[in-house]
């Protein structure tokens, strides 16, 4: 059976004190805070350095990078090297895990400080970086059926049982 007493008044004193303190809200569009240098925003690619090794496409867990590769002599050295003619990053799938940033051998894909990824149409969120637009709706890494490994472990279980 509750009785009005000191506990309630102590709590009310705390809230009254907070009434006169400074507010901690930051008014967002007018105030943008300085992001730390490691913050992971939207991805961007420096196409001049990309060597189309496809490592980022392979490692991306959400299949959000699609690259169309072509052999082309881009820097006039006489040898046709792999060249990314189409490169799309789908922001609607990207989960900012930075795995692609870590595997890139030439550090051409990196996080910016931008985080405001909004669009009126979901397909607009797929940003094209190459010359030829790549269709973001096609999954670059469809799921591969794994061979069932049950045969190898089942005899062991029977032996243990």
């Amino acid at each position: 059976m509750p009785q009005v007493g000191q506990g309630i008044l102590k709590g009310m004193g705390v809230t009254l004190r907070h009434l006169f303190e400074n507010k901690i809200t930051r008014q967002y569009p007018e105030y943008k805070r300085d992001l730390p240098e490691r913050s992971r925003g939207m991805l961007t690619v420096d196409m001049d350095r990309c060597i189309a090794c496809l490592q980022c496409m392979r490692i991306c867990p959400d299949h959000c990078i699609s690259i169309e590769q072509e052999k082309r002599d881009a820097d006039g050295s006489g040898k046709a090297k792999p060249y990314a003619i189409g490169f799309v990053i789908d922001d609607s799938r990207c989960m900012y895990c930075s795995l692609c940033v870590e595997v890139c051998p030439v550090n051409c894909i990196y996080h910016t400080e931008e985080f405001e990824a909004q669009a009126y149409n979901r397909l607009e969120l797929a940003r094209q970086f190459g010359e030829r637009p790549v269709d973001p709706t096609i999954d670059p890494k469809p799921a591969v059926k794994k061979k069932p490994k049950a045969a190898k472990t089942a005899p062991k279980k029977e032996a243990a049982a």
Partner: protein, 395 residues
Amino acid sequence: MLSEERRVEQQSALTQPAAGRLAAPDVRDEFGLETIDMSMGPQHPAMHGLLRLILELDGETVVRCDPVMGYLHRCQEKIAENRMYPAVIPLTDRLDYFANMHNEHGYVLAVEDQLDVEIPPRAEYIRVLMCELMRLASHIPSIGFLMLELGAFTPILYAFRERERIQTIFEAVTGARMMFHYIRIGGVKADLPPDIPQQIWDYIEGLEARFQSDFVDLIQDNEIFISRTRGVGKMTGEKALEMGLTGPPLRCTGVDFDIRRDYPYSIYPELEFDVITDTAGDVEASYRVRIAECLQSIRLIKQCLEKMPEGAVMGDLGRRLRPKEGDGFGRVESPRGEFAVHIVSDGSDTPYRVHYRDPSFCNMQLLQEVVPGHYLPDIMPIMGLIDPVSGGWDK
């Protein structure tokens, strides 16, 4: 007229519980009264996520409480079978999204169990530091949620002020505020930035100054809080062990079990901390346990900052991560209880099977056993005792 009747009948059929095991038989007691079947449905502001509780009420008293889970199921265990071992870590972040570091740590311990890798001591200290900061960032909002469900709307905002500051520290260290992807197999991703230890010290000192007034004075002696939480959800230690509880719900009944001390991992053997238990076993006891664990986390953080050695932060793993065939097991003390990961490998790049033992899922047993007999408004403090997170119970 006929279509009207049928429409009403259809609508009533939709609101009945599913036929079969869960349907309440039409029992009337000797006064001719029957019970109300109600679904505190998945859309509810205070359900800690998406949980459906099928309740059978006798007036205000709950006679039966069946939780129905699965509204946030994302097939994480299955998806992990198609990803390489390092790429599963972002998935584990999203399990119990209030304690991301602990999830990552548990998974990484399971993988390292199968590998033969030396983790540098600085990496271990950083892991424990991050995990204890995460424990603070999880216990403080859980107290706020308990108060929110009791009807006090203010403590949760004070709690989230603290969590925001901790998340800012995490952002400076890991790059993200919530889905960190920081603890890696063999160490951590990158070293702490040079000004971070000082920032953490300043934050901890500020927190100690604010903690007493914002979270203890406001709540602990409040007579309404005491009358709402004392004696509610009372369990004995034996019953808690029977139900398979771990974490604060278990320790608040008096059972002295903490994985950091009983099955130690990482560098916890070198750090001093107390395992907090309380004998009352009700919601107020769980509140006291969580408050005291926050203070212990502060103590651990200070020790980590003082004792941290210099050195590398990543062990030597070799080119490809291919554990041998077999099992790996890792368990950590997450803020909600024991989080354990069991990995079965078949020698390839991707695991064969990953199983998460999530504390929120296992602690939900409490609802079915303890709630019947309480009043309807008591369900919310009892959920505050468990403090589940829907990403946890649904994976």
